[in-house]
Structures are given as structure tokens and as C-alpha cells.
Amino acid sequence: MTMLLEARGVTRVLPGPLPVTLVRDINLSVEPGEFIAITGPSGSGKSSLLYLLGLLDVPTSGAILLEGRETSRLSRSELAELRLKKLGFVFQFHFLLPEFSVLENVMIPMKKLAQESEQNMRARAAAILEQLGMTALLNKRPDQLSGGERQRVAIARALANQPLIILADEPTGNLDTKNGRIVFDIFKRLVSENGQTVITVTHEPQLSVLTQRQVRLVDGGIAGADQQV
């Protein structure tokens, strides 16, 4: 069976007079509906691995396969299209566009994809936000929201184009414990109710235990076997 996402011997080296190896020889397979935490100490290459899996960065050697398709030979605009259609990102910072309302922010990826009517987009964005308990805040600006609310909008935006995989990079890094917990509960619910695949980077053990599978990185390599829950 083809994996949803697969890394085969992925190595990423930052070139320069003193080359830095971010990740080395990563082999990883992701099946549909998995909830995976990438853990490890600071500087172990967690985020770098996530960017590679999310097609934001290109490996120096090795291959990333999305739905069995090799991605290393794709052009930048083909990668952008894949990200638009198949992947959703949540970062440590919410990165919402400050001038646009909550609803408009969620609609931006839909508008970029431009496959449905404005009305449909509006309805769907509102539905996604409703699922995340944000109905009251649709027309607020990001700077009128709390940190936890902003991050939930960012998750809604990641869900906009019904992605195959949500990739989250320390999504709770700027949140207090309670809000961090809410974010992880949302992920968990998406996985269990919608069959959504989620890969998240975190260094907080009390959150990573909520996932089904943990990949621990040390010095750019996977340490030991995956811990399946």
C-alpha cells in the first residue's frame, strides 16, 4: 500500500564554508489518519524535518514522496501548488494577515485555489471556524483575539482546502498550558472524527503523549524506534 507521506534517506545540509547538517538519513512513513509528534531537544532538527516533509524545503539528498509521488524534481511553483492543495500549516506564530478578518483569513487559501464560488467559500470557512468554536469571532480582526483564539484561526486556515496532512511546528510554543491543551485536543478531535492526518513538532512531553506515535530526533537523526501508542 502506498504511504500518504514518506521520507527516504532524507538529509538536509545547509551549504556554506562550514556546512551544517540539519537532518541526516531520515526514513519515515506516514499513514492516513495518523497523529504523529516529532519530539526532541532544541536544535535536534525537528522543525527542519517538518519543513522538508511539508515541501517548504528541499532535501540535499534522499526523497520525499507525497501519495507515492517523488517531489524532489518538482519546480518551486509545482511544490507551491502541492502545498496549496494537499498540505496545511500551523506555525508557532499564528501568521494571520492583520488587515483581514478571521473569516477572510480562513478564506485566503480557498481564494488562491479558486475552485468554488465566493458564497461556498464563505459558508465553508464559517463551518470550519464553527467546528473550532469561533463562531462569535468571524468578523474580528486578529489583533482583537487572544493568543489561543488566533492559533485556532490559524488551524482553521490550515484546514481550508481540506488538506491530506496538517503540519504543525510548535503550535503551542506561544500558548499557556490551557490553550496548548486546547490546540492538541482540536488536533486529536480532527484525527478521530475526520480521519485527518496530523504531524506536529513539539518539545512538550505532556502534549506529545496525547499523540499516537512519537518520532524522537537527536542531532538530526531518528533516535531509536518510533513509539507507537
Binding site: S47, Y51, G54, L56, D57, R76, S77, A80, E81, L82, R83, L84, K85, L87, F89, F91, Q92, F93, F95, L96, L97, E99, F100, I108, P109, K111, K112, L113, A114, R157, D169, E170, G173
Partner: protein, 414 residues
């Protein structure tokens, strides 16, 4: 694309003051360009129309472009010949066989030709001496080559025939010497002949050198004054198609050998000044627009600097380089377009304002205010240049923004 446009608009709306300054910069460049171009070209067109109107289109002169070759030079053209103490033959000046040349020319139906004897004379009236160029003409021919008759402010052209010794003075000449209609002046030529002549007309062309320095008399009288019986030293030609002047002049010169000037050649110096004037105007206004372009460059660079995070997220969402570039290009284009529209209004307003200013100028031509020329072309050139420079000013930072690597931005922010 609607999405890129709405993002671009949002950026501009959030920097109202900077946007306004950039827009105004463009508007001023465009506006000044239009007003200045209207002024300059208005003057040029007025001047050229005047010249074409007043001056003969082609003038055949009784001189040659090059000094005649000596026989020895003709024989040993390729060799080195040096002649010392050369004394050229004293030839009788004048167009030879002018009568038949004129007949030949007047048989053509695309032009009219008139014989002239031009020469310097002194006018003496009371205690005043004024030097003037006396142009001997034949009114029945003159009518067809110049608008002298129309330019008369007093008297009639035919009075040259009816008065015994009639003279028509330029308005400036009359003023200088203090003579009015029907006054009798003494006219003295370098040949030593003196005639008493009666002022039968005064003309005003609007071209100062003509009004201040020329007078007209019958060809016969001029020949008597200059002591050059039957001599014609210029044949003046008026064409049906002014644009043919160069060609006609060239072909006549090739046939007759006499120096034959088109009006463009006669006024080459002044037309040359126009070219320089244009260059100055265009570079001044170009500089204004370049300064405006720097404003645009500045605002878009600032926006891009501020919006680096947005660029990062948009790219990670799946916006392509082209999309990002387009956002900022649209911003520059909008500033350019809005600035152009405002500039058009400003330019039109300024031109109208200039048109209301009344004053008397008497330089090379006489006029009662700015001579303005409205041309859609000025608006298009100014607008085109403004939009182009705005787009270019936006393109440089936009390209940089498009190349930003989302990973760097996200890492840098985290």
C-alpha cells in the same frame, strides 16, 4: 486576480499617508509635464505657423554655397594646390536670367514665386536715421507668396503703384523713426542714391525681426535706389505643401546652382534652440517623475519589509513567486495609475490657469500671453512614463519579496 488585488489594496490603505505622498509625487510630475509641454509646444507651433505664414517657404539667393573653384583646382582636383594672394573675380551679383527662372517656376502649379531685390538702406526723417532692409517687390506676385497684404495695419498694397515713390514700413521701423502714414522720408542707399519716399502702408507680422527691420517698396524703385537696374537677388517661393520645402529647395538648387534655402534651413538656429529647450523640459520633468518613482520604491520596500511574515505565510500556504510579485507590482501600478489620473487633472487645471494669464511679450514673436497647445499626446506620454516608472520602482522590491524563502522567514520569526 481579485485576491492579489485585495491584498495589494489593503497594504496601500494601511499606509494612507505614505501612499498619498507617492501618489501626489506622481501627480505633480505628470501635471507639470503636461503644463510645460503645452506651453513649450504651444510656443513652437505658434512660431512655426508664423514663420510658415510670413516667411517664404523657399528662398533662392544670388549666392553659391561654395566658393567657385579656380581653374587650377578644377584641373588638379586630387593634388595639393595652394594659391596665395588669390583675388576672386568681381562678379555682378544677382540671379542671372531671373525672368526666365521665374517664368519656369510659375508654370508649376504646386508653388508661386516672386522676384525680390533685398538691400540695406537708410531712412532719414527729421533728425533720425534708421537702417532698414528694403525689399523690392512686385505686388501682383507678392500677393501669392506672402501675407504682406493681410498683415498691413494701415494702407493698401496697391498704393505702392499709385503713389509716386511709395514705401511700406514695418511697425517697429515706423515707431523707431517716428513716421506715420503719408509722411515723406528720405531713403539713402549704400550706392549713394537718394529718393524721397512716402509712407503708404505699415505692417505687423508678429515676428519681431521682420517688423523692426524690414520695409517694402516696388522692385523698380529698389533697383533704382541700389543702382542695380533689372537685378533680382532673391526669388521667394510659397509652396502648397509646406512639408515639401526641403525637397523643392534641393531640386531647385541642383538645377540652378544658387543657394536655395527652405524655411527650415533659414530658421535652423531657432529650430535648434527648440530641440534644446525640449530636451531641458523633458529632463526636468523626467527628474520629477524619477523622484516620484523613488517615493514608490520607498513605500513598497517599506511595505515588503513590514509584510515579510505575511509573505512567508502566503508562500507556505501555496502562493507562488509570481503571486507575491504581482501583489507588489499591483501596488506600484495603482500608485502610478491614480497619480496619473490626478496628474491629468492637475495638468489640465494648470494649463487652463496659464491660459488666463495675460501679459505682453515681445521677444522673437509678439503675443499676449502664453501660447498653449492642448494635445492628448502630452497626457499619454506623461501617463505612460509615470505608470512605467511606478511599475519599475515597484518591480525591484517586488522581485526581492518574491524570492524570499518562507523557511527563512518562519525560522527567523520563531
Amino acid at each position: 486576480m481579485a485576491l492579489t488585488l485585495s491584498i495589494a489594496l489593503t497594504h496601500l490603505r494601511n499606509r494612507k499617508r505614505q501612499t498619498l505622498v507617492s501618489v501626489l509625487g506622481v501627480a505633480m510630475g505628470v501635471g507639470f509635464f503636461i503644463a510645460m509641454a503645452a506651453m513649450m509646444q504651444g510656443f513652437h507651433i505658434y512660431f512655426i505657423n508664423k514663420v510658415i505664414d510670413v516667411w517664404p517657404h523657399v528662398t533662392i539667393k544670388d549666392e553659391y554655397r561654395a566658393a567657385p573653384l579656380q581653374p587650377v583646382q578644377r584641373l588638379f582636383g586630387g593634388g595639393v594646390v595652394t594659391l596665395y594672394g588669390l583675388k576672386p573675380r568681381d562678379e555682378l551679383r544677382g540671379i542671372k536670367d531671373a525672368e526666365s527662372v521665374l517664368d519656369g517656376l510659375n508654370r508649376r502649379n504646386d508653388l508661386a514665386a516672386a522676384p525680390t531685390l533685398r538691400g540695406q538702406v537708410f531712412l532719414r526723417y527729421g533728425s533720425k536715421d534708421v537702417s532698414t532692409t528694403l525689399v523690392g517687390i512686385e505686388p501682383q506676385h507678392e500677393r501669392r507668396v506672402s501675407h504682406l497684404e493681410r498683415d498691413l495695419v494701415a494702407g493698401r498694397l496697391n498704393d505702392l503703384y499709385s503713389a509716386a515713390n511709395g514705401i511700406i514700413l514695418g511697425e517697429g521701423v515706423a515707431k523707431k523713426i517716428g513716421a506715420v502714414m503719408n509722411d515723406t522720408l528720405s531713403v539713402i542707399s549704400p550706392a549713394g542714391v537718394m529718393l524721397k519716399m512716402k509712407v503708404v502702408g505699415i505692417f505687423r507680422t508678429g515676428i519681431t525681426p521682420i517688423d523692426n527691420f524690414e520695409s517694402y517698396a516696388l522692385l523698380k524703385k529698389a533697383q533704382i535706389l541700389q543702382n542695380r537696374p533689372n537685378v533680382v537677388n532673391q526669388i521667394r517661393i510659397r509652396l502648397q505643401d509646406v512639408n515639401q520645402a526641403r525637397n523643392v529647395a534641393r531640386s531647385i538648387e541642383a538645377r540652378l546652382g544658387y543657394r536655395t534655402e527652405s524655411w527650415e534651413e533659414t530658421y535652423e538656429n531657432i529650430l535648434g534652440i527648440f530641440v534644446i529647450q525640449n530636451a531641458i523640459i523633458y529632463s526636468t520633468v523626467g527628474a520629477i517623475l524619477i523622484v516620484a518613482a523613488f517615493g514608490i520604491f520607498n513605500i513598497i520596500s517599506t511595505v515588503i519589509h513590514e509584510k515579510t511574515r505575511d509573505i512567508g505565510i502566503l508562500k507556505s500556504i501555496g502562493f507562488e513567486e509570481g503571486d507575491i510579485r504581482r501583489i507588489f507590482l499591483i501596488e506600484g501600478l495603482l500608485v502610478g495609475l491614480v497619480g496619473t489620473l490626478l496628474g491629468w487633472m492637475l495638468g489640465y487645471g494648470l494649463t487652463r490657469l496659464l491660459g488666463t494669464i495675460r501679459f505682453h511679450i515681445e521677444g522673437f514673436v509678439t503675443a499676449q500671453g502664453f501660447l498653449l497647445y492642448y494635445s492628448i499626446l502630452h497626457y499619454l506620454i506623461a501617463g505612460g512614463f509615470a505608470v512605467l516608472s511606478a511599475t519599475f520602482a515597484a518591480w525591484l522590491p517586488a522581485r526581492k519579496a518574491a524570492r524570499l524563502n518562507p523557511v527563512d522567514i518562519i525560522r527567523g520569526a520563531a
